[in-house]
């Protein structure tokens, strides 16, 4: 927001990973706008409901447009925005619960259309805003207020899921490295098609995974995340799937489809190919004449 309202401004808890993500988003959209000589108002942030989605209200400096809707529906809204205005840059900001639980149904369809938007998914492995219940990425066996005997469901592997659903750009970031994250987000926005940047963004209040992600040799904790080796070829989908299947979380660009044709281009091409004639309402009425 452009002005600050100390009376009601949203606040994340100290140390929340989302602070890093908002910085990365600002960097990415600011830099990209500057590079293209575009105004920041050409960018729309579509936010989910959760601590994460509040990112849309916490942009510093020149303001992008935003829409902060209902739980789980960022992708349908983004689909409509791009249908209406293919020229806009659409960025999604959502939590793991929002994107992968209630909103999960919307990923596949956008992948199949190759909708030209970039989703930044802030994964803290928990429902933050509703106070710490299990999310789809919470591990099997973890105790939360809704899983008193330990979570009974297997966790989702989001990266593998995106790849199978046919998402044409899949990257993985971490909130502690906002600069690298900004780079991935910007790459995703430049990609012509559906891009997901899945971010490890720990919740200090309900699921503090900083140590688990970083590792702690003294305590014998292996790092839960690792940088994707430089020799990984992002055009190689099988290699990407193999990386995603790793026990630790690969950080970096996993996959980018080379011949990515986004929705709008498909439509334009199909219309041209089938030589659709645009008939006016008057013509159409004439066709109905008795």
């Amino acid at each position: 927001m452009s002005k600050r309202n100390p009376e009601y401004d949203f606040k994340w808890c100290p140390g929340c990973g989302d602070f890093g993500v908002v910085r990365a988003v600002e960097m990415a959209i600011g830099r990209r706008a500057a590079e293209r000589g575009e105004s920041i108002e050409k960018t729309v942030i579509v936010a989910g409901i959760g601590c994460s989605g509040n990112l849309v209200h916490l942009q510093e400096g020149p303001q992008p447009f935003g829409i902060h809707g209902i739980h789980g529906r960022t992708l349908p809204i983004a689909y409509g925005i791009k249908a209406g205005r293919p020229d806009l840059n659409v960025l999604i900001a959502a939590g793991d619960g929002d994107f992968l639980s209630i909103g999960m149904e919307h990923i596949g369809p956008q992948a199949k259309r190759n909708l030209d938007v970039t989703a930044v998914v802030m994964d803290n492995g928990i429902y933050g805003l509703t106070k710490g219940q299990a999310s789809p990425t919470t591990m099997l066996g973890v105790v939360t207020p809704t899983t008193p005997y330990g979570k009974l469901e297997d966790a989702i592997n989001p990266l593998e899921l995106y790849l199978t659903l046919g998402v044409s750009f899949v990257a993985s970031g971490i909130s502690t490295k906002p600069r690298e994250l900004a780079g991935l987000i910007q790459q995703g926005m430049d990609h012509p098609g559906f891009a997901i940047v899945h971010v490890q963004s720990p919740c200090t209040t309900y699921n503090d995974t900083y140590e688990a992600l970083k590792g702690n040799p003294e305590k014998g904790i292996e790092p839960g995340a690792f940088d994707i080796p430089a020799d990984h070829d992002p055009a190689d989908r099988s290699a990407a799937i193999a990386l995603a299947g790793n026990k630790a979380i690969p950080i970096g660009l996993l996959y980018q489809r080379a011949d990515s044709t986004p929705m709008q281009q498909r439509l334009t091409e199909a219309r041209a190919r089938t030589k659709v004639r645009t008939r006016s309402v008057d013509d159409l009425l004439t066709g109905l004449h008795i």
């Binding site: 303001q63 349908p76 409509g80 249908a83 209406g84 020229d87």
Partner: protein, 570 residues
């Protein structure tokens, strides 16, 4: 009554009843008659009890017709189900292949399939039936020959062959009926042909209206009886900046048109009850964040999966209040195919005018029926478009007590369209005073829609009949019969159900009794009217079929007789 002909084709799904009824209507319209069709069938691709009806008249037609002049029964069960509706002196044509016992009354047995095969065109059964009906109604054979010329002359090499085959079939029908010696009341010759008329279905006409008002984006999910709006749009809403998409669910549809409306475009979806039920949360978002969009709900029988192919007017309460919290969505419900055009235009205009969601509430009975209506002139359409922000308000999206210019992404005035309560820039706040101000502002905008037109006749009468939606025709017919037979009764009608035209609401509140015929159990609209301080009482029917005129005549008489102490059913 000599000017009127009602024909029903009844049998099992797949026997071509709908084609026959529409063909008869088309032929009759071609030569200048007014026509209206109606069809009803089960929710399956093959089989099941199906019938279609055509009314042909020298007058404007209000309903599909109560009683049949001709019943074409394609199997025994159709005969048994429908014979009771054949008027005295009416003629039965039955499929003698299926059941050829001796039937009483004026009946003609035709083995249409064999006869069709004999013409060399096994698919000509419909034409044979049309020929027989035309002969019974004394419609000159020439009209139908013209129709066949017009319909089948398409510049193909074998046009002549096809046309001749069909004319032969027509003659077979003519001859068979002539041989029977039966006649129904002969139709008067048609009025002079009005080439400024079109023959159209409700769903198509409404789609055309929406396009004429500037619709840009349509995204929908298939569902009977709304699917034909989606397919019409897929076929016809194209060109620069236009987009049509098939969604993967109604939750995606509503989300998508929220996004499209937010992006500055005119957006619409169509669905039926089950889809509307899934859109409640999304409609709340559109109400809260003030996003212009139109949801067209083509009502069918409810609740749940209900009766997917039957007509009912039972989604009104959901249309007005589709989701939790305080909202009251504007609703426009066309009463006839003719009104669908303007309803389509107004729905788009209203959404733009008050910056919010609008429900275009129609119903299977209007959506799928054919009517001949005056051809509208698209150049006269006034398309309204929201006032766009020029950035002079900074980042403020909302201000004061009403509407503010709409900031369009890409242009100046960046803000957050927010489904949580919010301040002027769209920042979330729960401060009590902000919720009060914003709630009142959202409702105040409805005032911009209170100037809709309405019909009022005999306003001096303390009792009025006021139908809504597709029950208008039967109510109008009943009203005319009642007035003609000396009943003191006023007429009130509007397609603008919420907000009601302000002057109409005043008129309604002055009435001693307002009788509301509606196709649902609860008496939904009369309940809403009572909520608004109107002493309204419903005549309900929930059979999945439209009202009959005579049923309403009798029920209105009863209501008037028992008018005191009217209370709701539940």
């Amino acid at each position: 009554m000599g000017s009127d002909l009602v024909v029903r084709f009844a049998g099992e799904g797949g026997q071509g009843q709908v084609t026959a009824a529409e063909g008869l209507a088309q032929a009759a319209a071609q030569v200048g008659y007014h026509v209206q069709t109606f069809a009803t069938y089960p929710s399956q691709i093959e089989g099941g009890p199906t019938w279609a009806q055509t009314r042909v008249s020298t007058n404007t037609i209000l309903t599909q017709g109560d009683q049949l002049d001709v019943l074409v029964a394609l199997n025994r069960s159709a005969y048994e189900t429908h014979i009771g509706e054949l008027r005295e002196g009416g003629v039965l044509i039955y499929n003698s292949k299926d059941f050829d016992e001796q039937l009483g009354g004026l009946s003609i047995g035709l083995d249409v399939d064999s006869l069709a095969r004999a013409t060399g065109n096994p698919r000509a059964a419909n034409i044979i039936m049309i020929g027989a009906v035309a002969q019974l109604a004394s419609m000159p054979a020439d009209y139908f020959r013209q129709f066949i010329e017009a319909r089948f002359r398409r510049g193909r090499a074998n046009d002549d062959e096809i046309i001749n085959g069909n004319i032969k079939a027509l003659d077979v029908g003519f001859d068979a009926a002539a041989a029977s010696g039966y006649r129904v009341n002969p139709l008067d010759p048609p009025p002079a042909i009005d080439r400024q008329r079109v023959l159209v279905k409700g769903n198509d006409f409404l789609s055309l209206g929406a396009i004429a008002a500037g619709l840009d984006i349509f995204i929908g999910y298939p569902i009977s009886p709304a699917t034909t709006i989606l397919t019409f749009m897929e076929g016809n809403l194209n060109g620069e900046g236009k987009f049509v998409g098939q969604a993967t669910s109604e939750i995606e549809s509503i989300g998508a048109i929220v996004g499209a409306g937010y992006s500055g475009r005119k957006a619409m979806t169509s669905t039926a009850g089950p889809g509307l039920s899934l859109m409640g949360e999304g409609l709340g978002l559109a109400w809260m964040a003030e996003i212009p969009l139109v949801v067209c709900d083509v009502q069918r029988g409810g609740p749940a999966t209900g009766l997917p192919t039957k007509t009912e007017q039972s989604d009104l309460l959901t249309a007005l209040n589709p989701g939790h919290g305080d909202m009251r969505i504007p609703v426009i419900a066309p009463g006839s195919v003719e009104e669908c055009w303007q309803a389509g235009i107004d729905a788009i205009n209203w959404a733009e005018r008050y910056q919010g969601p609008v429900i275009l509430l129609t119903e299977m009975g209007v959506a799928e029926r054919n009517e001949d209506v005056p051809r509208p002139d698209p150049s006269l359409v006034v398309a309204e478009t929201r006032v766009v922000s020029d950035g002079s308000m900074g980042n403020k999206r909302y201000s004061g007590n009403g509407l503010a210019p709409f900031p369009v992404p890409g242009g100046p005035g960046a803000y957050v369209a927010n489904a949580s309560e919010h301040d002027e820039e769209g920042d979330t706040t729960h401060l009590p005073q902000v919720h009060v101000t914003q709630t009142e502002r959202r409702f105040a905008k409805l005032k911009l829609l209170e100037n809709g037109s309405y019909e009022a006749e005999h306003t001096e009468s303390p009792i009025a009949i006021m139908p809504w939606g597709g029950s208008k025709g039967a109510a109008r017919a009943a009203y005319q019969i009642l007035r003609a037979t000396g009943t003191e009764l006023g007429w009130l009608y509007t397609m603008y159900l919420n907000p009601l035209p302000a002057a109409l609401l005043e008129e309604l509140r002055r009435k001693e009794l307002v009788i509301v015929p509606e196709l649902n159990y609860l008496g939904q609209f009369s309940g809403v009217l009572r909520g608004l301080g109107v002493n309204a009482h419903s005549i309900t029917q929930y059979t999945g079929l439209p009202f009959k005129e005579q049923f309403l005549v009798e029920r209105v008489r009863e209501e008037i007789a028992a008018r005191s102490g009217r209370l709701a059913r539940v």
